[in-house]
Symmetry: C2
Subunit: 449 residues, 2 copies
């Protein structure tokens, strides 16, 4: 029986059980341990290494599942024959593998310094001090108080007129799609999405057997348009907003019989340079537009509350099934959010963000011009939370983005850009004002090499 004197716990090398499993895997692959060799018993390892039984069990289970070892009754764990070994090997979740991100220009991230967490904490605390509301599973459609507040907020902020009965609250777009897609059952399951697509929505659509069609709101035929369109008027991946022609086209689609438009109003609040565009819902045919709002950009991405405005004609179908769905959003957060919005805190915060983003937007453009000079072209800066840029370089956008990531700078490459040069989206929501200049300086250094 081999001793494990070589095993040493490493700091920051991932969970202990993984390290232990990895150790044995290497011992086996290096043939220090051969087929039919007995491994230490769980008790021995627990005692010798002074680690928990669960850690040892987890390590052994990992090795078992990969075929490196086998469990033999009354004997213990033995090394298996090499032909049983999985192709797959254990990878430790070492935090050394991925460089730490110093400057994050991705659009899934926000600078929490801009959000008043102590104020938000007070709202959460207030809910927790009236615990009677937390005793049940809550309203499957979302707390009525929140829905009432959202009906007003969506009108005030985006011109969306609806009743609380039309609002369904859920933990993100995907939870809401899981509920509403089964309601859109009549006819062909084809769905149109703008390029470059929307992986989170597409996964759910695929799960429900919908067939994706690439859709361009500026150029399509009304006779062959898919029965369902999902559109994000301020979609950051596209790098540009809907123009007037596209808007008119979409409104025409919302009038077609048996056609539906899901309007994901992501970033809708952040139009401070161009003319603010009201939601399509507010001037299209609201009987066929499903409006989606969320708070991941206006508050915190980690707050999992989104809402959907269901058209009146779909309500009876939803009413029939709604009791079969448990609410996915936390009741505590729903009630805190309702009060936060009702007190005007959200409107105030959005106003503050708008002015901050306007400033960051200008600073970022200035820094790009300063360090990249004629090498950079700013393709779009009017869509709220990010710049769309092109940089003259002999490398592709994805190569440059991964070079940047190696240096701790996260930028989003635009695949299939409009220019001959690599294009990127730089979101400034996650970067502190004071870091803008130095981050672009650092980026230029990366690109130069």
């Amino acid at each position: 029986m081999p001793t494990v004197f070589n095993f040493r716990v490493k700091e920051k090398a991932g969970p202990l059980y993984k390290q232990l499993a990895l150790y044995f895997q290497q011992e086996i692959l290096k043939k220090h341990l051969k087929a039919e060799d007995k491994l230490p018993s769980i008790r021995e390892l627990t005692t010798d290494l002074n680690i928990s039984r669960t850690t040892v069990l987890s390590a052994y289970q990992e090795l078992l599942s990969l075929g490196y070892i086998k469990s033999v009754p009354h004997i213990g764990y033995l090394v298996a024959f090499p032909e049983n070994f999985a192709k797959q090997t254990i990878v430790s979740h070492s935090s050394n593998d991925v460089p730490a991100i110093k400057y994050n220009f991705s659009n899934n991230y926000i600078d929490t310094n801009t959000f008043d967490t102590s104020l938000w904490r007070r709202y959460l605390s207030r809910v927790l001090s009236t615990p009677s509301t937390l005793a049940g599973y809550g309203d499957p459609q979302g707390e009525f108080y929140l829905r009432k507040v959202l009906a007003k907020y969506s009108y005030d902020s985006r011109g969306v007129v609806c009743t609380p009965d039309q609002i369904i609250v859920g933990a993100g777009l995907q939870s809401l799609l899981d509920i509403i897609l089964p309601l859109l059952v009549h006819g062909e399951k084809s769905v149109g999405l703008e390029e470059p697509g929307f992986p989170q929505a597409e996964q759910i659509l695929k799960n429900f057997g919908w067939h994706k069609v690439s859709f361009n709101p500026e150029n399509f035929s009304l006779t062959t348009v898919p029965r369902l369109i999902i559109i994000s008027p301020s979609n950051p991946y596209k790098g540009s907003n809907l123009n007037d022609k596209a808007q008119k086209n979409l409104i025409a689609i919302s009038q077609l019989p048996n056609h539906y438009l899901i309007e994901d109003d992501y970033n809708g609040e952040f139009r401070y340079l161009a003319t603010p565009t009201p939601a399509l819902y507010s001037f299209g045919n609201s009987e066929q537009i499903l409006y989606l709002g969320s708070f991941s950009r206006t508050m915190l991405p980690s707050l999992r509350i989104s809402y959907l405005v269901l058209p009146q004609p779909l309500l009876p179908m939803y009413e029939k099934v709604k009791k079969n769905y448990n609410q996915t959003s936390s009741t505590i957060e729903q009630l805190a959010l309702a009060k936060y919005i009702e007190d005007g805190c959200l409107a105030k915060h959005v106003k503050k963000l708008r002015s901050l983003y306007k400033k960051k937007n200008a600073l970022l453009r200035k820094a790009l011009k300063k360090y990249f000079r004629s090498q950079v072209t700013i393709l779009n800066f009017t869509s709220g939370l990010h710049l769309h840029i092109a940089i003259k370089s002999r490398y592709g956008a994805d190569v440059l983005a991964s070079k940047a990531l190696q240096s701790g700078i996260k930028i989003i490459p635009v695949l299939g850009g409009k220019t001959e040069y690599p294009e990127f989206l730089l979101s400034f929501a996650g970067i502190a004002e004071k870091d803008i200049d130095k981050s672009i300086k650092a980026l230029q250094k990366v690109f130069r090499n």
Copy 2:
């Protein structure tokens, strides 16, 4: 143009816009307002009644959608012709319609006095004071810290050995089914559920085209057993727990090639009278059992955090799609829960609940005997959070349950019971210890009449 001098806002009669819409609907149905009569303009109503524009718009939109009024450009809102009126009428969400529940014996409810909300608030606050973790969308699989803690907790509390990589966190069973059902794609989509079924799971299964088969773990043929079985060993709806034979059968199923068992371990922690049963996962074939744990019973139903232990062989498929799923559970609550469990607070709370429930269980049985005497039979009291009883009566279980509800007592009728008498489940999780005697006294009074 009619004046609306009769309209009065009622306290506790539901949202204002509904009251206003209801008022006009009644005026129209009573023919006080006739076809082509003009309704007051939005501005007039806003001023006259001193209510918000949104309220008026919402009321009018409700009336429009039901066909009671029509909008004529340049003129305003007119009463429509009666043939356009919807069959559907406006129902106000009046809190007077439904009697307030005084004693809640349903199993969707817990007595929050048993939960230390101020302690939980401190855990939430601690997370909020390190806001950097809240800036992103979080790990799609669930925060690693929570998964690590859950791997240990599920072993300590239920004998479930797994690695954090196998754990997927989500906002409830349904969110998790939405992710895993598309992974179980090979073969026929038939799923076995015990009677009387499980509406929340069935809705999701139906959405994905699965065909439900009634399944009895004590009596079935191994050759025709559905490819997927969903089982709740402590399912409160059944009124009884799995016996040894059923357990052995389920373990046999977990060995069949290409068969899967989803073990919903709801209430699993609450076995304090009978011998505690470890999770099936812990002694079945864990390569084909998907274990589901939640905190709705041990903490608060409003806390939307569940977790699933995915068998090792399904991991590669999940890894491929996981980045396409956003996490549904709140990051704040996930991190607070992780620390709460790690500090031993959950184990301590469960221990406290066990002893409280044991006491309530005895008190409830005593009260039933005291007031119902020979009229009551206690069929089962060993399954943790509820009693399964039969009451001699000439009425059916559902009639008696609705009579009780009218008197403010919520009890759950068991449909298709085993005895000749109406059967009920009485959960004591939601009822205060001090209310047990008087609630049963009140229930006996209801049943007597």
